[in-house]
Amino acid sequence: MSAKSHKSAGEAGKSATNGGAEKSPAKAVSIPSLSSQRSGAEIIVDSLLRHGADTIFGYLGGVVLPLFDKFYGSPIRVIVPRHEQGGCHMADGFARASGKVGVIVTTSGPGACNIVTGLATAMMDSIPLVAITGQVRTELIGNDAFQEADITGITRPITKYNCIVKDVRDLARTIDEAFHIASTGRQGPVLIDVPVDVEVAKCEYDGRVEMQLPGYKVRTKGHGGQIIAAAKAINEAERPVLYVGGGIISSNASEELTQLIAKAHLPVTMTLLGLGGFDQNKEESLDMLGMHGTAYANYAIQNCDLLIAVGTRFDDRVTGKVKTFAPNAKVIHIDMDPASISKNVPVDIPVVGDAKEILKELVEKVEYRQRKDWFATIAGWKKKFPMKYDRNSGTIKPQYVIEQICELTKGDAIITTGVGQNQMWTAQFYRFSRPRQFITSGGLGTMGFGLPAAIGAQIAKPEAVVVDIDGDHSFNMTMTELSTAVQHKLPIKVCIINNGYMGMVRQWQQLFFEKHYSCNSLLNPDYAELARALGAEGITVDLKADVPKAINKMLAIKDKPCLVDFRVEKEENVWPMVPTGKSLHEMDGLDILQSLI
C-alpha cells in the first residue's frame, strides 16, 4: 500500500510538472465521461481551471483522496508543502507576487486546523486566497468523527467568508463565489469546506455557473462629489502628505499613484505593506512611517495640513497614539472598505471605492503646486535624520547585510521576510521600487512566513530573484519547507539575519523589562549544515569582509535553494522607535542615530 502510494505520488509530481509548463491557463478540461454528470471532485478541478488556478498548494489526507485522484493527470500543478501552514503561506506568497488568487487544499481536522495561522495572516493583509478543506461525511458531521473539526466555525473570524457545501449541486457555484469574493472589493481569504461524500456525488455540470450573492456588493467607482472635494483640498493644501498602504498594491494603483505624486507634487510615505507602491529612489518618497518608520515620514505626518490616506487602515503600529496622529490635518481617506473609514481616526473627506479608479480621476483634477517651504522642511528632516547604522563596526551589522543584498540584487529582487528586527531592517534598508516586490506579514506579524512565502513567490515568478530575509527564530518555525524548495529546484535565497535571539523581543526586554532576557536563549542548529542536509546550498558568514562575496555566490546559484547564515551583531536595536502609546513624533533612538557618523 505504502509502496504503491509512493509511486503514484512520484508520477503525479511528474505530470504536475508537465501541467505547470503550460503557459496559458486552460479554459476547460476534458474529463472523459459519457454523460454530462460530474463528480464533486471533477467539478472542483474544472472550476479551479476555469479560474486560471493552474498552480495550487495542497496536502493529502483521507477525505480529500477523491479530489487528489482527479488532480492526478490533470493540468493542475499541485505543490505539496511539508506542513499545511507552509502550504497556506506559499499560496499567500504566490498571490502577493502574482496578483492572482492563491489556492490551498487540505484534508479535514488536523490538515484544516494547520492553515488557521495562514488564513489569519492573509485576512489581516487582505490577500486573496481560496482554501478548500475536506470534511468528514455529511452524515457524520457533528458526531466528533475521526479527524472532524468544525473548520467553518474555527475560521469564521479569520476569513472574508466561509461555508460548507453539503450538496454537490451547489459546489460549482460556491467555488465561483469564493473566487469572486476573494478577489474583489477588499480582498481576503475564503474557505470552502467539502465533505468527502460531496466530492464523490455526481450532478449535471457543464461549466456554466451563476453566482447568487445578493448580499455582496462591491463599490469600485468613487463618489464624484467626494473626488472633487478631495481634489480641491489637495489643490489648496500647503503641507500635504500622502500616506499609502497595501490597498495601492492590491488594486494595482501604483502607476496612478506615481502620476498623482508627479502632477500635484506631493510627498508620500508608505506603510509596511505599502512599500513598493512608490519608487523609494525618488525624491518624493519619505519611506516607511510608523513605529519603526523614518523620522522624516513621522514628522511630515505630524506637521501636515492635509493627510491623504489611500488603501490603508490607520493601524496602531502606524498611528502611534491615535488622538495625536496628524493633529493639524484635514483627512482624506480613499479605501475599498467602508468599514475602515473613520474606524480609528475621524475622516473629513471619505471616498469609498477602488484606489486605482479613484486616483485616475483625481489625477485629472489636481494642479501642480510647488510647496517650496514644505519640501524644504522635509529635505531638512531628511538631512538631519537619515536612516543610519554603525558602518565602521567590526562586527556584521544586520543593516549592512540588508544594504548589501539590496545593492547586489540591484534593488530588483522580490523580498520576503520573517517577523521582528529582520523585517523592520529590511523595510528600512532595502529600497523597493515596484509593487509586489516586498512580501511580508504585516497585520498578523506571523513568524515563519518568510520561507514559504518565498517559495510561493518563486513559483509565481520563476524568472525573478527571490530572497527571504529571515530571522533565525522565524526561520525555525517553518524551515521544513526548505525540502519543498529543494524538491522543486527553486533557486530561492534564504538570508538568515542570525542574531541568536528573538531579537525584537530581546529589544523590548532590554528597553522595557530591565534586560531580563526571559526565555530568550534557544539552541539554533548550524543552518548551513542543515541546508546541505536537506539538499540546498549552505553558507556561513562570520566576517564582515565576507558578506558581499557570500551574497554574490548565493545569487549565482540557479538550480537549488541557497541559505546564507549571517552571524550578525547580537544586540543591535531597531531605531527609531515610537514606544507604544506615544505620538509619532516622540521617537526614541534619534540621538543614537545622530551620534553615528
Binding site: 469564521r156 473570524p157 467568508y161 461555508c163 460548507i164 469574493i181 467602508p338 468599514a339
Partner: protein
Amino acid sequence: MKHIISALVENKPGVLAHVSGMFAARAFNIDSLVVGRTEDVNMSRMTIVVNGDDRILEQVRKQLAKLVPVVKVQDFAGEPVVARDLMLISISAPPGKRPEILALIEMFTGKVVDIGQKFVMVEISGPEEKIEAFIEVCKPYGIKSVARTGTIAMIRQEKEA
C-alpha cells in the same frame, strides 16, 4: 444609546453564526437579537438591539453590511418605528391574590394563557418599557420564570398627504 438595527440576511445555514461571531469578535454589546423568516423564503430578518455611542454604531452598521450573507442593514434610530417585545411570564398567584393580579394583567392588556394551583402564566407584548414595567409590578407577588423574545421593529408607513 440604544439602537434598533434591522438586517435582511440570506436564509441559509451559518448566517446567525457569521453575525453573532462578528459581534463577539468586535466586542459590540448586543441587548437582544431576534431572527425570523420574512415574506421572502430566501431571506430572514434579524432585529438587533445594540448599545453604544455614534462611533460604535457606525462600525456596527458597516461591519454588518460587510458580511457576505447580509443583504441590507437599517438603523431605526430617529425613525418613527413600532417596536415590540413579546413575553411569557409566570407569576405566583395564590387564590387570595388572584383578583389583584388579574386586574393588573388587564391594565397592561396582557392575556392569561395558563393557570395552575399557585401560578398564572401571562402573555404580554408591547414596547420594551411596558414589558419592564409589568415585570416590576409583578415582582412583589413573586416571579417564577420569564421568557422574552427580544425586540422586533418596523418603520411606520408614511401618512398619505
